[in-house]
């Protein structure tokens, strides 16, 4: 799904090799992003391009392109002559990320509420049920799938390519934030409930209600990040 048809959501995908949906660079990107998000590569680790290329079993050029994209998405940091560092998502970084997500996701919720089609409204209501089921059964996979579909649906509905660009910048670190806490059943249930409420609010078409529901979801994220900060202070150790 590409909401911004006229633009290049990621030019690395589009440049020069049109039509082929999965370029080697895109594939390398997916594999590396997953390895980072699921912490198969540890946060804070310094790695070389060769190591990453071995890890995903792909050659250097696509790996290099993937690294550049992950750098833009704030998951990797390339330090000239010193290697590639997997950026740690410490609670402070998380709070800065959430401050951004609050503003942009509120706008996304407002726009999606106003612009979505009847078909999209129906899909939103189905997703709300999926979220509620995920909350009741604390089924991580069910939540992750609904979350992915929900994000893509909102981006498709908002018809603003700049919102789409900005959200995509934040997606990697956001996904990792979630993944770090996916094991906690209570967190999962609460998050899924608030997602369900947001989906219903957007489907209602009331932009103000949708904005408030978006803020409530971010409030929850901030509470998590703050409590992580507290426990870091208590433990006095690297996060």
């Amino acid at each position: 799904m590409r909401a911004s048809s006229g633009s290049a959501p990621d030019a690395a995908d589009a440049a020069g090799r049109a039509g082929k949906p999965d370029t080697l660079a895109t594939l390398a990107y997916r594999l590396l992003e997953e390895a980072i998000v699921t912490q198969r590569i540890a946060p804070g680790a310094t790695v070389s391009e060769a190591q990453l290329s071995d890890l995903i079993g792909m050659s250097r050029m696509p790996t290099r392109e993937a690294v550049r994209r992950l750098q833009r998405e704030n998951l990797l940091e390339v330090r000239p002559k010193r290697g590639i560092v997997v950026r740690t998502i410490d609670p402070h970084t998380q709070l800065r990320l959430l401050a951004m997500r609050r503003e942009v996701e509120r706008l996304l919720a407002r726009l999606a509420a106003r612009e979505c089609s009847d078909a999209q409204r129906a899909q939103l209501l189905e997703l709300a049920v999926d979220f509620e089921n995920a909350a009741a059964s604390t089924d991580t996979l069910c939540f992750v799938h609904a979350d992915k579909a929900f994000n893509e649906l909102c981006l498709a509905a908002c018809s603003n390519e700049f919102v789409v660009d900005t959200i995509r910048l934040l997606q990697g670190p956001s996904r990792r934030f979630w993944f770090q806490r996916a094991g906690d059943a209570q967190v999962l249930a609460e998050s899924a409930c608030r997602h369900a409420a947001l989906a219903r609010a957007i489907a209602s078409g009331d932009a103000d209600v949708a904005a408030a529901a978006s803020d409530s979801l971010i409030d929850f994220g901030e509470r998590l990040a703050r409590s992580a900060l507290e426990s870091d202070r208590a433990n006095i150790g690297p996060c």
Binding site: A11, A15, G16, P80, V104, L111, L169, P173
Partner: protein
């Protein structure tokens, strides 16, 4: 709040003389706050091509190619290719599969969408800058506020463009939010190009300089709420300016 007190004091200090402010050769003060970095060929290519597109040396709607951009900049094809990808992400070049590269036409509707997004991100940037700026940065914000006022009084577009650039950079540094910075950088080029294209006919430059000055002043004073409000007032003005270009056509 000790920080606030420092800032207040610094705003009353005598600002640099007009002579210093108008020395075009002087490096922007924001250089001081930048991390030292060597510019790669890709960055050089990016900077040159971006400047050419934003200042309309390459006209909206023009076709370009890797070769033509390589000749224009004197930089080899590989860095040019990487620069093109970045420019495509910033909506300054459109990659047409199998058909080459296009510098997009000016598009008011798209510009209004950009402003909606920019308003939210930039409000956060300005509020964060008001909270997180160092005393040295506040000092510069205070100077910028005064210089915006001078540019407004003199209706001086050259100073305004320079001040605007310096102000934007300093905001991103002072806000200390890497996510907001990346998002703003994606939108800067297209914003600046639109400005270049229309400002002589449609913009009320003194008013715009005054509104910029108000944001700079609020950040210098460490007042996040005022910084947010001043930014909204500025964006209202830019939106009105953008809409006004429609009637001009």
């Amino acid at each position: 709040m000790p920080v606030e007190r420092t800032a207040r004091k610094s705003t009353t200090a005598t600002r640099p003389s007009r002579a210093r402010a108008s020395t075009s050769a002087r490096a922007p003060r924001t250089e001081r706050f930048k991390r030292p970095q060597t510019e790669s060929l890709t960055e050089q290519a990016y900077t040159q091509i971006e400047e050419a597109i934003v200042t309309l040396q390459i006209a909206p709607g023009a076709s370009v190619s890797e070769l033509s951009l390589s000749e224009m900049t004197g930089i080899g094809r590989t860095p040019i290719r990487e620069a093109i990808q970045r420019l495509a992400r910033e909506h300054l070049i459109v990659i047409l599969p199998q058909r080459g590269l296009l510098v997009p036409e000016i598009d008011v509707k798209k510009q209004l969408k950009l402003l909606r997004t920019r308003r939210e991100v930039e409000r956060l940037v300005c509020r964060s800058a008001a909270r997180s700026a160092t005393p040295e940065e506040r000092e510069v914000f205070s100077q910028l506020a005064a210089e915006f006022a001078e540019a407004a009084a003199a209706n001086d577009d050259v100073s305004f463009v320079r001040l605007d650039r310096e102000f934007n950079e300093l905001c991103l540094i002072a806000a200390r939010n890497e996510f907001a910075e990346s998002a703003m950088r994606l939108m800067h080029g297209l914003s600046r190009r639109f400005w270049y294209y229309h400002y002589k006919r449609a913009a009320d430059l003194p008013e715009m300089a005054r509104l910029h000055g108000a944001v700079a002043r609020a950040i210098a004073d460490g007042n996040a709420e005022d910084a947010g409000k001043a930014l909204d007032a500025l964006l209202d003005n830019i939106e009105a300016f953008t809409l006004a270009t429609l009637t001009e056509l």
